[in-house]
């Protein structure tokens, strides 16, 4: 309509090019009247008719008094803040136009111009030009390109180019879209948006086609008719179907460029396509498919990174340590996949800001809540339901995200025939709340609270319960362009309880509790483009109730008993320089110094060094007061890593780092169990230490869409905690009598091929690795396998994973996983013997045999709802089958004595294909 009218006016103006004369003068008073009303008043007073389209007239209020003012001046004044032009037609009518100006004479050069001159004028920007802005109004009806008019054509000589600027924001989150290309179709030239989503582009006066191009967001094309400098802000929706490609585009060559070795990032968004057991999206399970990260078996909690023990991983959720990231003993992880924003695993060179664990850091970060509009996601699977909502609190400033998962797996137990299990319960939940508040661009506060809880009761007399609780306050401050920092306060709490209740007089509750509080100051300083420094300081207080037992009711004959509280203070300072030596060589050199002090109150026993530590070899004791330092350990930790570009897309990286760990799990189980307790280093238990060398080659192919790497490592460690056979760790006041500290050695080569983009994407990883332990104490009972190196419980030389996803259409995709692993070592009996009328098996050498190899194929079909913007929500269905081949993978082989006879048993967890449907809904 607008355009037709415009065309009409334009034609009219060409036909009657008479001069504007005899301009009327008016006295008129506007007092807070809308512009439209003002125009009506002018019509009444002047007797002229004013033609316009109603939608052109803005809702502005006019307050102005004109005394004998010529009409054109009144109109000039009224329209000064608008894009309206006017033309007084034959002194009778006033025609208003939007943007355009009605000309009453043809411009100079309208009928042709010297081409040479034309070129010259094109070259000279901003040169005044008298040429009016004309544009071709004929449009291809198939092309739905919105036309935008910018500015107002002035009566003054026009410039040839105008500046268009604006912000490009994400429609959903309101966050600026950076690095978005704004391209001028006519010339193919363009600019990109800066960190604030801001762009500036010079356009030729008149009609321009501009197009945005980004992998993260929708691409839009606009016909921009520009009359003067102006702004055009764009709100773009995220292009959901290509989210997987975000990381490639933003970190296209991170694989080869990053100076750190052994760093893995998990693409959280894409894990929904990976088929997983019982439909639970699980970040940590996906991590298992990356090279160098394994677990002792299906249904085993704990991860082994590059041949390290399971207690050597620092698992951080928003900077707070998570002690037990497992539900159901490791079958599911306690990390909510819907609220997690990023997951980075450091298994090689650990940046200097992290410490306290030998093998790895799992740095998991929760997403920031949407601050613009309410958003949510829900999923329903066979085991859990999950709901996440994002609530803006102060628009564009702060938001609150709430996420919760809960299981309803009780029905699984109830539906079983086993009468004993009918009364049993198994339940878990986890919940997370994160508040983010951006005071201004320099100050941001986030606060996270997390809780997870597992509760089991399988026999009618026992209830077993464990709980993680985390709190984080994270304050980010940007001092200036060169300096920024974060002050982080965290508190982590982990506990478990066992309630044993029976009709006899020995009902009790026993349990364990650890709490740690850390303050960390993490600073970044950009010295220049070559040097970027990270430095900081942290201190952490541990408080541990190593164990207690108490009567559950007044009938019980159990006494209160608890081990004395354990305390420790772990502090560290660090400085690291990310140094770009030249275009090819980049260094990441860090030094961390950590210091640990174990604090009283505690009674320390001294033992005769000539005999094994036991009750009989005590030669003295010493009482330490509360908070009195008992023993201090400290040491420097080097974190050195370098990258050198051999070719623009081929780099070699090498690193050396050493680490200390002052906390240990006490467990004489083969694998991780939720009843494992953590104890601190102290007078008798020394800190663990490790050193790792690693070297790797990294190459990207096909414009960074295919990443490959091959990395090797060699790691040695000492003071690893192990225990005498049959060690009694439950409520043991003098654990040192059961402990053996030994050496570890591991090495391996890791291959990773990753295709992140395209309809067919996924990764293939293969690891060859070995992991050994040596327990060679002074005394017989502290020696295992004659004091020689032997394979650790998680030594799995061959580990192959293939994760693939094939996108048939935007909505349909197929995924497949294949996993192959060497069977883990087990301690095999070497014989039998009779004792007291019963037959027992005799074990001698530890871990000399292996259970059969493990392999598994999983398949899934993913069906996404369409991406129409108007649609209320976005749906996602996943149909998956776990262990399609029905391979009866033994998880463990063990031996029991039943009725005096020895029997071998083999346990497997998912020995049949497990089909699952889960449904996910975003709103």
């Amino acid at each position: 309509m607008q355009r037709l009218l415009f065309l009409f006016i334009f034609c009219m103006s060409l036909q009657s090019l008479s001069a504007q004369d005899s301009i009327q003068k008016l006295t008129i008073n506007f007092n807070d009247v809308p512009l439209r009303e003002a125009l009506q008043q002018i019509e009444e007073r002047s007797g002229l008719e004013i033609f316009y389209a109603e939608q052109w007239i803005p809702e502005t209020l006019i307050s102005k008094t004109f005394e004998e003012t010529p009409l054109n001046e009144i109109l000039d004044e009224l329209f000064s803040e608008t894009i309206l032009n006017y033309y007084i037609f034959n002194g009778e009518n006033i025609i208003l136009t939007s943007n355009s100006r009605i000309y009453d004479k043809l411009p100079e050069g309208f009928f042709g111009r010297d081409p040479q001159e034309n070129i010259d004028q094109d070259l000279v920007q901003d040169e005044p030009s008298a040429a009016p802005v004309f544009y071709n109004n004929s449009q291809d009806p198939n092309q739905e390109i919105e036309t935008v008019r910018i500015g107002k054509e002035g009566a003054q000589p026009n410039r040839r180019t105008y500046q268009l600027s604006g912000y490009v924001l994400d429609k959903a989150t309101g966050e600026p879209i950076t690095n978005l290309a704004v391209i001028l179709e006519n010339t193919g030239t363009g600019v990109s948006t800066n960190i604030n989503g801001y762009y500036e582009i010079k356009l030729r006066a008149g009609e321009n086609l501009i197009r945005t191009s980004s992998i993260t967001n929708e691409n839009v094309t606009k016909r921009v008719i520009i009359y003067s400098d102006g702004t055009l802000n764009l709100n773009l929706t995220e292009s959901l179907e290509s989210l997987g490609e975000v990381q490639i585009s933003s970190n296209a060559n991170k694989n080869v460029e990053n100076a750190n070795t052994g760093e893995e990032e998990i693409d959280i968004e894409n894990i929904k396509n990976v088929p997983l057991v019982l439909g639970e999206r699980d970040i940590l399970k996906v991590a298992m498919t990356l090279p160098g990260i394994t677990t002792a078996g299906e249904g085993s909690a704990g991860y082994n990174v590059r041949g390290g023990k399971a207690d050597q991983n620092l698992i951080l959720l928003d900077d707070a340590v998570m002690y037990n990231p497992a539900h159901f003993f490791g079958l599911f992880s306690a990390i909510n996949p819907f609220t997690t924003g990023s997951a980075t695993i450091y298994k090689g060179n650990i940046p200097a800001e992290y410490g306290g664990r030998l093998s790895s850091v799992f740095d998991l970060r929760t997403k920031d809540s949407n601050t613009r509009e309410f958003q949510g996601e829900a999923s329903i699977g066979p085991v859990t339901s999950n709901l996440t909502v994002e609530l803006p609190i102060i628009k564009e400033k702060s938001g609150l995200m709430l996420g919760g998962r809960s299981t309803y797996s009780n029905w699984i137990l109830r539906s079983l025939d086993e009468p004993q299990l009918k009364n049993s319960t198994a339940f878990f939940y986890d919940g997370i709340a994160k508040y983010n508040h951006e005071f201004n661009e320099n100050n941001k506060l986030t606060a996270t609270a997390y809780v997870s809880d597992d509760r089991f009761s399988i026999t009618s007399d026992s209830v077993y319960n464990y709980q993680n609780r985390l709190l984080t306050l994270h304050y980010n401050h940007r001092f200036n362009d060169r300096n920024r920092g974060a002050l982080i306060l965290t508190n982590s709490d982990y506990k478990f309880n066992i309630d044993y209740d029976n009709s006899l007089q020995d009902s009790f509750r026993s349990g364990y509790h650890i709490n740690e509080t850390e303050v960390k100051l993490d600073m970044k300083h950009v010295l220049n483009s070559a040097h970027q420094f990270d430095y900081g300081v942290s201190t952490k207080l541990y408080q541990i109730d190593p164990g207690f037992i108490e009567p559950l009711d007044s009938e019980s004959s159990i006494n209160d008993f608890s081990l004395s509280e354990e305390q420790g203070l772990e502090s560290a300072i660090w400085l690291a320089d990310n140094y770009e030596v030249n275009e090819k060589l980049s260094l990441s050199a860090g030094l961390r110094y950590s210091i640990f002090t174990s604090l009283g109150a505690e009674q320390i026993r001294y033992y005769d060094p000539a005999s094994p530590k036991n009750d009989n070899s005590v030669i003295g004791t010493e009482e330490f007061e509360s908070n009195e330092p008992i023993k201090t350990y400290s040491g420097p930790e080097l974190r050195l890593s370098a990258r050198y570009f051999l070719l623009p897309d081929l780099s070699v990286k090498g690193s050396y780092n050493n680490t200390y760990q002052y906390i240990h799990t006490l467990s004489n189980n083969v694998t991780v169990s939720p009843t494992d307790t953590y104890r601190l280093s102290g007078y008798h238990i020394e800190p663990q230490g490790a050193r790792q060398f690693s070297l790797g080659f990294f190459k990207n192919w096909m414009e960074n869409t295919v990443e490959t790497s091959i990395e090797g490592y060699y790691k040695t460690s000492d003071n690893l905690l192990d225990f005498k056979t049959g060690a009694n760790l439950f409520l043991n006041e003098f654990v040192e009598t059961e402990v053996i500290q030994g050496e570890g050695k591991s090495y391996g080569a890791e291959l990773l091929i990753k295709k992140k983009a395209g309809d067919f994407n996924g990764w293939l990883s293969y690891t060859y690795s070995r992991s050994f332990l040596k327990l060679d104490g002074e005394f017989d009972e502290e020696t295992v396998n004659d004091g020689e190196f032997f394979p650790s419980n998680y030594d799995k030389p061959h580990d192959f994973s293939l994760v693939t996803n094939y996108k048939l259409t935007q909505r349909f995709s197929f995924s497949a996983n294949f996993v192959y692993q060497t069977g883990r070592p087990i301690t095999y009996p070497t014989g039998k013997f009779d004792y007291g009328g019963s037959e027992y098996v005799l074990y001698s050498d530890r871990n000399q045999f292996r259970i059969p190899d493990y392999y598994r194929l999983d398949l899934s079909v993913n069906l996404e709802g369409n991406h129409k913007l108007e649609k209320l929500g976005h749906t996602f269905w996943n149909f998956s089958v776990y262990n399609v081949l029905g391979r009866n993978n033994p998880y463990s082989v063990f031996f029991v004595t039943q009725d005096g006879e020895v029997e071998g048993k083999q346990a497997s967890i998912f020995s049949v294909p497990v089909p699952t449907i889960s449904f996910n809904f975003q709103f």
Binding site: F833, A907, I909
Partner: protein, 411 residues
């Protein structure tokens, strides 16, 4: 002891939970011997009872083998700290007995010495840890964790306030057996092997007694109960369907006060063989006891235990706790058969096969009430006699009809 119990308990239920919850399966695993490192196994025990004490020696053996290989040619002696030496001699099956009667005394230490194939094995010096006094032994009605009623045998113990005590219990159970069916007759196969004939059978088949020794010791401790003066520990639980408590039952409970190390040794032995399960497996390994080879690297597995012993016997009348109808009916453990007639004139009577197997014996003829207890299709050709499991007509297959000397029928 409690601590161990706790452990075993939650381990069990963890495994159960996961096992069934997630379609886990445990099946038997055929294991093969992967190497034989023979180890000497020593069970040494001296108590404060004045008697001829015993020590057992054997070798460990192959996994596939069922042959226990006893050590019969060792020189075994126990040396007391006062210089007294008690020598042992081999009796049979690796069991050595002291020549003389003796008893372990408080205040002295004892050491086991074994000389075998040129290698000397010596135990640590062990002593009595106080005097074991068994408290009241009682039977009571309890419900076990599976919700089944039964009779629990408990001891009342008073704990020592100053010291955690460790106990090991062995027991010997004797129970009365009454054959549910009696006929006064039995079938004997004729010399020609073709037929069986009925002869009178004496009544001695009806009431018997059987005695069983405990296989594994029960371990208990006063740990975490130090302040309690008196409490009960369940040593044995017999569910109502256990035929041992169908009639009169007696248990002789032996209590040994043992050292903490001995307790730990037995616990470890048990842990590595019993409460192992799929999901939380104890790290197995070689169990070190208190005996070592002095002049070689030979491995020894075993413990030389010196303990104070005490014992008590009780009799239980299950009808004090249960009604007759609570016990399993005869039909649940006795089966009746009614053999047919010979197929051809010359073929042997089907009865012969049953009688010769030793599994069945005469219970009544076709006119006896047993006939009504057998469901046969109409027109089935039936023979003249009805048979029952032999244990249901002749209790001597389950025990002896000689009443034990200690037996008291009624108190």
């Amino acid at each position: 002891m409690k601590r161990k119990k706790i452990k075993a308990r939650y381990r069990n239920f963890l495994s159960l939970g996961i096992l069934f919850l997630l379609m886990a399966c445990v099946e038997s695993y055929d294991f093969k011997s992967e190497g034989t490192a023979s180890v000497i196994i020593v069970q040494g025990f001296v108590s404060d009872e004045f008697k001829r004490h015993e020590i057992s020696l054997s070798n460990s053996y192959d996994l596939e083998s069922d042959e226990n290989s006893f050590i019969t040619n060792a020189a075994v002696s126990v040396i007391a700290s006062d210089g007294a030496q008690y020598d042992y001699f081999h009796t049979e099956n690796g069991v050595y007995k002291s020549y003389d009667e003796f008893q372990a005394e408080a205040g002295k230490t004892y050491q086991l010495e074994i000389l075998h194939e040129g290698v000397t094995y010596l135990s640590e010096e062990e002593k009595i840890y106080g005097r074991s006094e068994i408290g009241e032994v009682e039977a009571s009605l309890r419900v076990n964790n599976a919700g089944i009623e039964g009779i629990a045998i408990t001891t009342e113990r008073s704990s020592n306030e100053d010291q955690v005590q460790f106990f090991r219990y062995d027991y010997s159970e004797t129970y009365k057996i009454v054959a549910p069916y009696s006929s006064g007759y039995k079938l004997v196969v004729d010399p020609d092997g073709q037929n069986a004939s009925l002869v009178e059978a004496p009544d001695e088949r009806r009431v018997c007694y059987n005695t069983e020794e405990s296989i594994e010791s029960v371990l208990k401790t006063t740990k975490f109960r130090e302040d309690q003066t008196e409490f009960e520990d369940v040593i044995r639980f017999l569910p109502v369907n256990d035929l041992k408590i169908r009639y009169r039952y007696s248990i002789l409970l032996k209590q040994y006060l043992i050292s903490p190390d001995a307790y730990n040794f037995y616990e470890t032995l048990k842990e590595l063989s019993g409460s192992q399960n799929a999901f939380s497996q104890n790290q197995p390994g070689f169990i070190t006891g208190n005996i070592k080879a002095v002049n070689s690297n030979n491995k020894v597995l075993g413990y030389f235990e010196v303990a104070s012993a005490d014992e008590k016997r009780i009799f239980v009348d299950p009808l004090e706790f249960f009604n007759v109808t609570d016990f399993p009916g005869f039909d649940q453990y006795c089966s009746l058969v009614w053999p047919g007639v010979p197929m051809r004139p010359n073929s042997p009577d089907p009865l012969v096969g049953y009688i010769e197997s030793g599994e069945y014996q005469y219970v009544g003829d076709r006119n006896s009430p047993y006939a009504a207890m057998i469901d046969l299709p109409p027109d089935t050709p039936v023979g003249p006699y009805i048979l029952a499991n032999i244990s249901c007509v002749d209790c001597r297959t389950l025990g002896t009809n000689v009443q034990p000397e200690f037996w008291i029928e009624d108190e």
